[in-house]
Symmetry: C2
Subunit: 363 residues, 2 copies
């Protein structure tokens, strides 16, 4: 599809990443479980369907692993879990660092567990490196939630291409649903491309905002606001309450100016305080309303179908493109052509067709 | 890059289109000029650099033609024109049908011609068919402008894939700039994917709105508002004036809530009446301010560079993807796999990898 310049560059960057960054994953879980014998697909599936968290966790480790042997089993497990998947409500949560995502997810998650929900918390963060402490990487940030029996918290797969990381997260959703989790939260950092990936695997996409002069929007990617099915204005506490209330009104007016959503749902904003645990239930009510609304209209299933199709085509497209971009010869030639284009020596289209010719010849 | 489901589907649709719709173009200009002998690339370039509109128009016809022989000459002409291109201000104008785009462009264009500008008006409308009367197709809609000596109005290339149509429009910009046009307006219908294509070839992207209850946003694609560098609220006349003024304020507040733009420019809204020719100069002042602002910050050139890169990678990517999607075997197999995915018989990722394997084998 036609995209913004920055997108194509991000895509390019992303592809290059895939070549460079995609080293064998250093996943603590992986190394941990690698010591154990790898079970058969049947054993994993059986365990998952029984809701055995240890086996689920080990299976997710296989999903995250880049070892072909692990992937082989992982794909069998996923395929057999598929018929048992799809039964959860999937919620994406994004917001810039500082919006208080972890605290919010802990508050919301604890509330949902109280309600008897079985909650899985996942993340998409291609930039994540254990060393840097990825989102959800540091479980101690979720003391309260991580001790809940009904909660399964899984950090983002380690650094890699967005495509790879997103795929692993989406496959993990399948396993979690097969294991009986009825609510899935997918966290992303609202600064890059992860949101579109998350948006394309969840039912409801929540934008976590904080009040202020507008600076708090720094770093949020334009377009995300129109992607959101709802906005939660966090940190509505202490001296912030009035500003939060005011922000709620402004967002209400702003959202009213947006074109109608495909679903017909009208996104709106709620205030909350993750720290004081206020307004959390209201935010969840908003999500429940949306689910009811889209289930009744049938849009819920339409969207799930679109998403399944999307991931198939997305995967086809990336592998087609990676064949070109991950080829060292082509990479060098591409850099050369890019220079020519930037020096106005050659048109973008001629440069492209020469590259494609070179690529086709060497096959 | 990762995209919305609807995007991947649009892309897919688009690719399929390319296979089906891309018949030899029935372009009245083409048939007209085909009667004449085709000149050499040198003759076209010479004429274009002299500002010969007839030769420019004929060269554009070659750009729009799908005949390999025409394309060969066209690409030579473009390549030689490139060093003389880039000297114009490129403005994209979008808005839903009914926003009054043609009337607005006629009013703005006439004003610019009065100011002594040399104006080229182009369009991107992949759905355009002469029969249906594409945007700008019916020149009589621009009586006043079309008689201006300084104005060059060119309808959208005939129906075809968005990629193809957009490419032709972008190449036409190069020729027009080489012919000495200092202002280029690119019109799109604000309902599909054409906006991202237009957005990626212009310096300033204007969203034409009309006031009202919000219904006027029907059909505008979400995300376009955050793409706009400015909004012109048209039809600010008669009983509409108050509502238009009110809308201006609402948009001002809404835009303030948006994340900052890459350029640091703060988009805002102006009211105007294309019919009464009021506020048109103010809209143009907004565009001039933006150009000055981005020229001073250096963002103007950065964006142009990004766009040139974008088009190179975009062209590479589409040709890589079309090889797969335009292959009849793969098309059949893909439809089959899509069904399996939708029936939850197979995961999106397994389906994709099986398709890719089949594709690689048969090469």
């Amino acid at each position: 599809m036609m995209e913004h310049p920055e997108n194509s560059d991000e895509y390019k960057g992303l592809v290059v990443n895939e070549g460079v960054v995609n080293l064998p994953q250093v996943n603590p879980y992986a190394t941990f479980h690698r010591k154990k014998r790898v079970l058969t697909a049947d054993e994993y599936v059986e365990g998952i369907l029984k809701g055995d968290i240890t086996l689920l966790s080990q299976a997710v480790t296989l999903v995250e692993s880049n070892l072909p042997s692990d992937q082989a089993i992982a794909q069998q497990v996923i395929e057999r879990c598929l018929p048992h998947a799809g039964g959860s409500v999937r919620v994406g949560i994004t917001g810039v660092p500082g919006a208080g995502k972890s605290t919010f997810i802990e508050a919301l998650g604890t509330e949902l567990c109280k309600q008897g929900k079985h909650l899985a918390v996942l993340a998409i963060d291609p930039s994540s490196e254990r060393s840097k402490g990825s989102i959800l990487g540091d479980k101690t940030r979720m003391n309260e939630l991580s001790v809940q029996a009904n909660a399964f918290i899984r950090p983002s797969p380690s650094a890699g291409s967005l495509g790879g990381v997103a795929r692993k997260t989406r496959e993990t959703i399948v396993l979690c649903e097969a294991a009986g989790f009825d609510t899935i939260l997918v966290e992303t950092v609202g600064v890059g491309q992860s949101e579109t990936a998350a948006h394309s695997m969840v039912d409801f996409f929540l934008l976590l905002q904080v009040t202020g002069t507008g600076d708090e929007l720094q770093g949020i990617k334009r377009g995300i606001m129109e992607m959101a099915d709802g906005i939660a204005i966090n940190k509505c506490d202490g001296h912030n309450v009035e500003r939060a209330q005011a922000a709620k009104v402004s967002f209400k007016n702003a959202l009213a100016l947006f074109p109608p959503t495909e679903s017909g749902w009208k996104p709106y904003a709620e205030t909350c305080s993750a720290v004081e645990k206020t307004g959390i239930q209201e935010v969840w009510k908003m999500i429940e309303q949306y689910i009811r609304f889209t289930r009744e209209s049938g849009y819920f299933d339409v969207k799930r179908t679109e998403q399944a199709k999307y991931w198939m085509y997305e995967t086809i497209n990336s592998s087609l493109l990676n064949g070109f971009y991950q080829n060292p010869e082509m990479e060098a030639l591409t850099r050369l052509m890019e220079k020519k284009v930037l020096n106005n020596e050659i048109s973008s289209f001629i440069a492209a067709s020469e590259l494609i010719n070179a690529y086709t010849k060497r096959q």
